[in-house]
Amino acid sequence: MEVRGKEVVVKRIITLNVNGEEFEFLTEVHRTLLEVLREDLGLTGTKRGCDLGTCGACTVLIEGKPYLSCLTLAADVQGKKIVTIEGLAQDGEPHPLQKAFVQKGAIQCGFCTPGMILMAKAFLDENPNPSEEEVKQAISGNICRCTGYTKIVEAILSLTHK
């Protein structure tokens, strides 16, 4: 703890496991995972949209489940496996979801896309054979201003066995 004048600044050394790598750094405790990913680790694939948990653009995967990084304290997720959009491609090869989004035309401005793809991945990992209605419900927390969602749903469904 450091006292500057009347202000008490609380910093900690935290260790985050992001996309398979361990990052150790000193940071103030009130920073969100979104801020740390973008500003300290330079992983700007995760987007700041509403910053209040209503748009889904900041979605990351933590232990395979979708989390809103704008409402997660960085200090709170030490020791957990965090996956951002940058972590999906393996050995330079895009993930099937990423390929499907490109092929189906599910990307316009691309701002919702990282969150949308990670949400889809978490959902399909739990539910490999969803109905169209279930896919729509799964992505209902991810807002897209451009596409009207049709192509996004098609892209996700193209990876199921239907």
Binding site: H30, G53, K65, P66, D76, M119, Q137, A138, I139, S140
Partner: protein, 328 residues
């Protein structure tokens, strides 16, 4: 929007958390999923000195049967509830409602305890510091006057939780742990119906567990909101009905959310329903009665008269569902 600065605690036991909370209750908050708390902190309506993380305490997130009773740890996530085999088999309504609270990420992060203890909401309160700067702070935010009813000393903010109405209809109780030990109370008594301090928890008390007696009858939850997945209710209703062996209604519980400062049970409507057979005339009378028993305030963009009408309509729809020989 950055969070304000705070001291951050990671207690290893519930007792540690209770002590930390009791030591500075007015300036401390508990962190579970964070989906309600962090938003309010970003808006600067809450600026705690101390944030106590409950997720670092082991064994607070569970779903288990203890004899006939279902017990759910307060830190169980909504996703834990919706995916639990035990809950799907014994209380499918809970599994269903857990998916209605919000979209997938909110179900993964949000906890049952957090949903039950969520802060009350109002269009003047749940806004950024910038937005609220146009008027003096409202009573709930530390100022003098409520902006909904321009009087001092009373807050009309609305309770909008989804799990509470259903759990109250199921006669759930909660176990609460504090500096003076544990106590068990009915979930309904957890709510003070005071907009400024919506929970009746005493200083240093933390909700630990929800206890649900064996299921009986049938429970429905109808949530009326503008968008079908991500919002708080405009008005929502939990309806629980037990038939008495003949075709008449034995026990009925009708509990609304988003129409008052706590969950609202419309007792007059319940009494009208009990011992009746579910004919159309009764449904009409009961729905009108329920609409009369609620007093929604203008705490959102939806007018009180709209909420009143929708409350009656939702109750009518729910009751008609029970008229079908084999309700789903």
């Amino acid at each position: 929007m950055r969070l304000p600065k705070f001291e951050y605690l990671e207690p290893k036991t519930l007792q540690e958390a209770v002590r930390a909370l009791a030591s500075d209750a007015k300036r401390s908050v508990l962190l579970a999923g964070g989906t309600d708390l962090l938003v309010n902190m970003k808006h600067r309506v809450i600026e705690p000195k101390q944030v106590i993380n409950l997720k670092t305490i082991p064994k607070l997130a569970y779903v288990k049967n203890v004899k006939d009773e279902l017990r759910i740890g307060a830190l169980a996530t909504l996703h834990d509830l919706s995916s639990s085999r035990v809950i799907q088999e014994r209380f499918p309504i809970l599994s269903h409602v857990a998916t209605k609270v919000g979209a997938y990420a909110l179900q993964a992060m949000g906890t049952l305890g957090g949903n039950l203890c969520q802060g009350n909401r109002c269009r003047f309160y749940n806004q950024s510091a910038f937005w609220r700067g146009a008027k003096p702070p409202c009573y709930k935010a530390g100022g003098k006057l409520c902006h909904v009813v321009r009087k001092p000393g009373e807050c009309h903010s609305t309770y909008c939780g989804d799990m509470a109405p259903v759990l109250i209809a199921l006669e759930a109780q909660v176990r609460v742990v504090g500096p003076n030990g544990e106590r068990v109370l009915s979930l309904s008594k957890l709510y003070s119906r005071d907009g400024k301090r919506p929970l009746s928890l005493r200083k240093g008390e933390i909700l630990k567990e929800v206890l649900i007696p064996p299921p009986s009858g049938k429970t429905l939850y109808l949530k009326w909101r503008r968008r079908e997945s991500i919002e708080f209710p405009i008005v929502s209703l939990a309806l629980h009905i037990e038939k008495d062996g003949t075709e008449k209604i034995g026990k009925a519980r009708i509990i609304f959310s988003a129409v008052g400062s706590g969950p609202v049970e419309t007792i007059g409507a319940e009494e009208m329903l009990e011992s009746s057979s579910l004919d159309n005339r009764t449904i009409e009378r009961v729905s009108n009665q329920a609409a009369k028993e609620i007093s929604p305030m203008r705490t959102s963009i939806y007018s009180p008269s709209y909420k009143r009408r929708m409350a009656g309509i939702l109750l009518r729809q729910a009751l008609e569902n029970f008229q079908i020989p084999n309700p789903k």
